[in-house]
Amino acid sequence: MIGVHDFCGHYDWTFEYLRRLGGEELVARYWREAIGFDSQRHALQLFLAKGIEGMAEYWGHTLTLEEAGYRLSRNQDVFRLDMHACPSKGYLIEHGLEAYPDYCTHCIGWIGPVAEQAGFQVDHEHNHCGQCWWELHRNAGEEARRDVREQAGADNVEHHPRWPMGTHHRFRNGKPES
């Protein structure tokens, strides 16, 4: 029986299995179709029905269940998530697991398409050390985005001493920045 207690381990293993089977294209399709629009369809329903409040509801529930270290900030135009201690990547680090070399990208792999379907743009950066930030918005201006960063204050992960560590991947409008 496959359980949820080591889910992140066999999830990571599955990414690599699919990559060997059908390349990165199959992995991206898996994140989008199986995770985004099947497994996490309750996220899309909340984003569509309640917008930014739905995001707060979704991540408040999910990250509390997963016992994450995080901060949610929002105004009427922008939703921001600062992740200080990702339980998922943290599990892999703690257990020395890395079947697939870019585990962190699975989040943007499903959140990006789901947010886009709900009419939101996604900006995101992760450091592969269990830390990341997200901003979901509808063409929000710099002032609204500065506001959520100020709300996050000392919990803005970009101010964390460990934030510069690791390899950073940054995405704008759901697409990787070169």
Partner: protein, 142 residues
């Protein structure tokens, strides 16, 4: 306690692989998962014997967010009486369509785990209630 919502992803993963690669592709995924990802678990079972099997499954069910099962160690086997499968309970309680072959993964994954540990695995039942047995010795007779 682990997040039960991860069952949504397990269910969706099985459906995704089945829809693209058919039942043979899904069985191949389960078998390789058992052989490769769970290799350290097979080694624990091989080294620790039935007490290690018993300890793993007791801990396993303690960490699932719902369901009910009894783990019984007998002289030649560990018997797991699943009274209320945690995965199916969570999926049904959250109104998810359970992938029609969901139960089959237990057989294919655990057969590989047991085989690599020098044991034999047998399963009876399904659909929320089943009996699973890890039996000492690959060549032990049923």
């Amino acid at each position: 306690m682990s997040s039960g919502d991860f069952y949504f992803a397990i269910n969706a993963t099985f459906r995704f692989i089945h829809d693209r690669f058919g039942m043979d592709g899904l069985r191949a995924y389960w078998r390789e998962l058992g052989r490769d990802y769970f290799r350290p678990l097979s080694e624990r079972f091989r080294d620790g014997g039935l007490p290690a099997v018993e300890a793993y499954w007791r801990d396993f069910f303690r960490q699932q967010p719902c369901g009910a099962a009894e783990v019984i160690r007998e002289p030649e086997q560990v018997r797991i009486e699943v009274r209320d499968c945690p995965a199916l309970r969570w999926l049904r309680d959250h109104n998810r369509d359970v992938f029609e072959h969901y139960c089959d993964h237990c057989r294919y994954v655990s057969e590989e785990i047991a085989d690599q540990a020098g044991m034999r695995f047998e399963l009876e039942g399904g659909g929320s209630q089943c009996r699973q047995r890890f039996i000492s010795g690959r060549d032990a007779q049923p």
